[in-house]
Assembly symmetry: C2
Homo-oligomer: 463 residues x 2
């Protein structure tokens, strides 16, 4: 199916689910639900507003494995809503069907007593891994890894591994690499499936493995794991505990989700939206308001500071009311230019395109850009002010736009760098903060310059 | 190596390369360069300012395969700079060593006559694939696919495929799936390596394959391919021509690059930076200025419009100068709130979290958020204006902030949706455009309301 066919299919599915539900056509609905991809069932569930309808449709999904597939594709709110309504036996079946990392994620969302109860009821084979994973913070390597990996001692031969794979391959979610460990479980080397197929059957893993291995510590931030994966084109990253023992792997499909989530979060943070990226749709208006209001209060505070500033300079304005006309442009240009600089730096730091050693180079580049922009806009708007009113106003507007541009790129470049050194997410600083600082700086420069040039150094000539 | 060790290693490498270059210690440098990962050599090359130093270091990389690895990790500017300095024989060797998709990308960057010459000189085995790929636009499925895939007729048995893999696995870059095609090359089904290992050797592919296959058309936008891959957790997407014949695959490592690039581009576009994401660092100040200036001109135009507006309302300002004090806040709040809404919609549309069927729901949610924000900020800043000056001013400020908030979320939500319908990238609309529109709307509402309430309906009481 191509994308057009797929998106058409989505619309058709949603319509059909609604129609069959209304008609109570359970048999047809069951047939349909069990022919859909799990991700499609999840999408249909998310679109049903009525919780009891969600339950009915989910109840028609046949078999623990399919149900587990649907649950792992649902947004957290819907997953909990659907899961908590099931019988304990059904819940246990689904938990056994989920990948260990997805099971741990789901458990983390449930009420604590329910999670404890379920963990006790699960088979030991599964509960150990889930309990281990639940011990790691959500956005770390430990929090996103799965303990399902293949590791063998150094003196295993290639044929033994191939036979093992033919017997057990179905157990391992995605086998890309085979890891080589010593007797204590310490990670020693890595092999691809391809390596395995192209050596003589008697070859010893210790002799054909690659070392040193690129790996992540359990507490490494998930964004750093994603950078590592992208940078070295890996399909899976091994995760080791502080004693270098292999405890899990992170596969590329989970890395893709991390990359998308982190980019979404950064974008939303930059616009002052709080950054709960993955919940863009499911969050209600009250929660959205609570997440966004704090950042808008930065604007409000800036606005009140601006009001105080303008009151302070009211003598200047009174002497020459036409100055008020250029308040908007002296505010807006600095805000936008600073946002450009800080977006470049924030994104560069996040992707690794800008490293500490690059900061000086980027700073100087931005300063040159700021000067060029200031020159262009200062000449342009200063020219308008000159033609519109008089040369004095033109000079004030032009010079203050130039200075404000230079200040804006400096703030925009340095704020994210500073925040990163302070171990605060630089994306936070980018949007409302940098914009408000530069709005106000623009205003101060403009009014200050006007006061100096027009009021103190001689009364302004009449227009 | 953990991330800390890796980033430390990077700094050490850069220092060592500089030091060895200055000392002319060619033997040590050669040894070092050939022990580094290709991506590390690429990074070191990017950091060398002097083109002749770049050439020296690249010249020390031994063997066409390693050289090809380094070239494929370089940014486009450096890749062309290094490549064009090589002898024709060296160039051909590298082109033969590159994956077909990377070779086509590199050829696309070279001067046309050089590319034509090289294409003629390359072995037929390689040049055909490269020429085919060069025919597709860069940011489509065809432009990022590789023609190196494994496809077999429906009546092949599993054992034949396994034997084939053991002989030829080294040729295929990343084998995740085996595709099943009919006699005309039309894609019929797909199998994972795991499927192959867990069926009897005599099983016929046609009987064990999965169908229908999720696939991309050659002209599908790369962002849509990335969404497809992420949504269905695929490791590779097959690409078909308009007659449904399998012509290539896109592997997950390339999809990761697309996801990162597209997110970077969207962020930069939203801030009005032009959107040449991957060149964040290597672009010079003049080019950066040319990319960013057009969007800042939107601000300048908005600022001049603001100046005209304020001149138009100068009677009102003259009658009550204190109104000027609240110009900044009435501009800034709408701009920021609108940016939040449009960021949510732009990102939601890009990731597929918001689909056409969701627009109404998101719009209503945003409208509620706008009303709540307007109520909060209107009360707050209106209260300040009331205490500071008088109730009239408080009412004007409060009411106009409320109205401006409602208008801002409407513009912010609808602009990206409208742009998408017009097939213009919605990220473009988000930043400078929505912000400027909402800045101006805020100003018009504020001044208009002040004129109506204070000037026409009675003179303002003295503060």
């Amino acid at each position: 199916m191509s994308v057009n066919e797929l998106s058409q299919r989505n619309v058709l599915i949603l319509d059909a689910v609604h129609r069959l539900l209304r008609r109570g056509a359970v048999r047809n609905l069951t047939k349909m639900v069990n022919k859909m991809y799990p991700v499609e069932v999840a999408k249909a569930l998310r679109h049903l507003d009525d919780p009891s309808e969600k339950r009915i449709v989910f109840g028609l999904v046949a078999g623990a494995e399919r149900r587990a597939g649907v649950i792992s594709e649902l947004d957290p709110n819907s997953a909990v809503a659907v899961f908590t309504e099931l019988t304990r036996a059904e819940q246990i079946d689904i938990l056994h069907g989920l990948d260990t990392d997805d099971a741990a994620d789901l458990m983390g969302l449930l009420p604590a007593d329910m999670a404890t109860y379920l963990l006790e009821e699960m088979s030991e084979e599964h509960s150990g891994g889930v309990a281990d994973l639940m011990g790691y913070p959500a956005e770390t390597a430990g929090g996103i890894m799965t303990p399902q990996f293949l590791a063998f001692p150094e003196d295993t031969d290639a044929q033994t591994v191939i036979s093992y794979l033919q017997e057990h391959a179905a157990d391992a979610e995605m086998v890309f690499y085979l890891y080589v460990v010593d007797a204590g479980g310490v990670l020693k080397g890595v092999l691809s499936l391809r390596d395995l197929l192209t050596v003589p059957p008697s070859a010893r893993l210790g002799d054909i493995m690659h070392a040193p291995v690129i790996k992540a510590g359990v507490f490494m931030d998930q964004e750093a794991v994603a950078r590592l994966t992208a940078r070295y084109n890996l399909l899976a990253v091994p995760v080791v505990d502080p004693d270098d023992r292999l405890v899990g792997i992170i596969t590329v499909d989970d890395v893709i989700d991390v990359i998308r989530e982190e980019a979404t979060e950064d974008m939303l943070k930059m616009s002052g939206t709080g950054g709960e990226g993955q919940y863009i749709l499911s969050v209600g208006s009250l929660r959205a308001y609570r997440l966004r209001m704090p950042w808008l209060l930065v604007n409000v505070a800036g606005g009140i500071a601006g009001a105080a500033l303008l009151t302070h300079f009211s003598g200047t304005l009174e002497a020459m009311l036409v100055l008020a006309a250029f308040i908007p442009v002296s505010m807006a240009l600095g805000g936008s230019l600073g946002l450009q600089s800080s977006t470049i730096v924030v994104r560069g730091l996040a992707t690794g395109a800008i490293e500490p050693s690059d900061v000086r180079r980027v700073f100087l580049r931005e300063l040159r850009v700021g000067a060029l922009v200031g020159l262009t806009c200062g000449t342009l708007v200063g020219g308008v002010a000159l033609l519109w009113h008089n040369p004095w106003l033109g000079a004030v507007v032009g010079l203050s736009l130039f200075s404000a541009s230079c200040v804006a790129v400096i703030t925009g470049t340095l704020a994210p760098v500073l925040f990163q050194r302070l171990r605060i997410d630089p994306a936070i600083s980018s949007g409302p903060l940098v914009t408000t600082i530069n709005d106000l700086t623009g205003l101060i420069i403009y009014l200050g310059m006007a006061t100096l040039m027009l009021v103190r150094h001689g009364a302004p000539p009449a227009p």
